[in-house]
């Protein structure tokens, strides 16, 4: 039996904060690797569309510094997946720049691997022509759709991480990766049970979310030949078989199965046993290698330029007849936009969301009531920034003064600020939900592995 391999995950995402006391305590248990991710699709298509990072660079730098110091002290690898929120090349480069700065500051000699996961349109179109693109939740894909994407990333499995580790990387900064692969890679490289390694990866991926004390804990999994032991570390940190098992439900359609590059994790037969108040033993998870090796693709495409105008309706009479008022406003604005800008309904998108009434659920809203006030949010989108600006100029006086039918006096609703509009720039949508079949798990990813001489003086 091999010695258990300990994976320490201090946070669900770098840049969002973590318990430093718990992290320092966890280092005493001598982990074999510190691993975490830095992104997901959860913040929406803007980040992949623009290739930008949600987290603050100064906070990322401060957290990275703590992890780099710990890594150097223990002489173990630090792995960060899905850099830059969306896993863009720019996100990896942002982290690389911060990492190099910190290495110089700390005088560290450190081997850094950047792994890039952006896919060119020509690579994806070639795969499409060769019948290597398979649909998941969206059927439609053609060359035109691929060309529309401002950015496409492929989600890497464990192999690119293993490749970088075998090349001697001390720090891996990866583009888009499956959450689990980031944590499962080192244990799999060292020969741990793959079912246990992947399952531990899933439980670790959101940091302390699998504990009953998420604010004060970091989590560490020790993976061996027959399963893994997961531990909550920190003052008062606790986890239970239930909290560990329940994490398989989180952001996952099927609680028993996880599809990963190169195989499928089956956890229906897994058993969860409490060893003490901080530790749970998990056994019986099974990894089934798949026939084809596939990587999932994510793509975001621009869908127009958007501005928002916000107005608050407080007049009780207007609130009484709000639906009638909004329907009139909607109809009048569409007429004015089409007449003044010389465009048709297919050239723009205009929505009014009634905040306080049904703005979160729209037509599916099942409740109604009489609110004290309603925020009316007009969302204007069109193909060009100029056209959207014109739409907003037309909306502005109406959002401020639009009367009820038959009301002779012009009301003045509340604009919360000046200007009343908020320019949201170009907006994006997720358009790919497909996998790409590849012959080589490394082929879709690019590597840049270099040693930084922090103490070159």
């Amino acid at each position: 039996m091999n010695a258990p391999i300990k994976v320490l995950t201090p946070t669900g995402a770098i840049g969002t904060g973590f318990s430093r006391d718990a992290f320092i305590k966890a280092l005493l248990e001598r982990p074999d690797v510190i691993a975490m991710d830095a992104g997901s699709t959860d913040s929406g298509p803007h980040y992949l569309g623009t290739g930008t990072t949600k987290a603050s660079a100064s906070i990322l730098r401060a957290e990275l510094r703590v992890f780099m110091q710990a890594r150097a002290e223990l002489g173990i690898p630090l792995i960060i997946g899905s850099c830059g929120t969306c896993g863009s090349d720019a996100g990896v480069d942002l982290m690389r720049g911060l990492c190099e700065e910190v290495a110089l500051e700390l005088g560290q000699v450190v081997r850094i691997a950047s792994i890039y996961s952006e896919q060119s349109a020509s690579i994806v179109k070639q795969a499409l022509a060769q019948g290597r693109i398979r649909p998941l939740q969206l059927e439609h894909i053609d060359d035109a759709l691929v060309d529309r994407c401002s950015r496409i990333v492929a989600l890497m499995g464990v192999e690119p991480f293993i490749h970088a580790l075998q090349d001697g990387a001390d720090i891996i900064l990866a583009g888009r990766s499956t959450d689990t692969a980031v944590m499962a890679s080192l244990p799999i490289m060292r020969g741990a049970n793959p079912g246990a390694a992947w399952h531990a990866g899933k439980i670790l991926e959101c940091g302390a979310s699998c504990t009953t004390t998420p604010a004060a804990a970091v989590v560490m999994a020790a993976i061996d030949d027959t399963g893994f032991t997961i531990k909550a570390i920190g003052e008062g940190a606790r986890l239970t078989p239930r909290s560990v098992m329940a994490h398989m439900l989180y952001e996952n359609s099927n609680p028993h199965v996880l599809i990963e590059p190169g195989g499928v994790l089956q956890v229906e037969g897994a058993t969860y046993t409490a060893l003490d108040a901080q530790t749970v033993r998990v056994q019986g998870s099974v990894w089934q290698p798949s026939e084809d090796y596939t990587v999932k693709l994510e793509g975001a495409a621009p869908c127009g330029f958007q501005s928002v105008v916000m107005s608050i309706v407080r007049d009780p009479e207007y609130l009484q007849r709000f639906d009638e008022w909004l329907a009139c406003l909607d109809s009048v604005m569409r007429q004015r936009i089409e007449k003044h800008l010389g465009i048709g309904p297919e050239d723009y998108d205009l929505q009014f969301r009634a905040i306080g009434k049904n703005s979160a659920l729209g037509e599916l809203e099942s409740r109604s009531g009489t609110p004290v006030e309603i925020g009316v949010m007009a969302i204007a989108t069109s193909a060009t920034a100029d056209c959207t600006k014109d739409m907003v100029a037309l909306l502005n006086p109406y959002m401020l003064h639009f009367p009820l039918p038959g009301d002779k006096d012009l009301p003045t609703h509340a604009f919360p600020f000046s200007p009343a509009s908020m320019d949201r720039g170009e907006v994006y949508e997720f358009v790919l939900s497909h996998v790409m079949v590849v012959a080589d798990p490394l082929a879709s990813f690019r590597f840049d592995i270099k040693t930084i001489q922090g103490d070159a003086r």
Binding site: S43, Q351, R353, G362, S366, T381, E429
Partner: protein, 112 residues
């Protein structure tokens, strides 16, 4: 008093990627779980009605060990699309909760 104490269950929804929604019904105990697992309003047909989807696109996983009923379906609107109203999909849980709380029509008819 939270809903778990008051009703015996709690419902949460969340994205499972940009194209799927997953709803977890956490039951207080195995008795509530057994009751809700056979509740007509938590079967595929009724859920499809609430979310205006096809019944065959709804997956339901009763997980006895956790007293949880997990329901997954295509997201009513793709996450972040122009007409998406809730980036993380957490408010859809309340529609299902309202549907469960709505008095059962057959019970009302029977009482008349």
């Amino acid at each position: 008093m939270n809903t778990l104490q008051a009703l015996g269950y709690e419902i949460r929804s969340k994205n499972a990627g940009p194209f799927s929604l997953t709803i977890d019904v956490f039951c207080r105990d195995s008795e509530t779980f057994r009751k809700l697992a056979t509740e007509p309003k938590l079967q595929a047909q009724a859920i499809a009605g609430v979310f205006q989807k096809n019944a065959d696109s709804i997956s339901i996983f009763p997980i006895e060990a956790l007293n949880v009923i997990k329901i997954s379906l295509p997201r009513p609107v793709v996450q972040g699309a122009l007409h998406d109203r809730d980036m993380h999909g957490a408010q859809w849980a309340f529609i299902l909760m309202d549907a469960l709380l709505e008095p059962d029509r057959t019970t009302i008819d029977a009482a008349r």
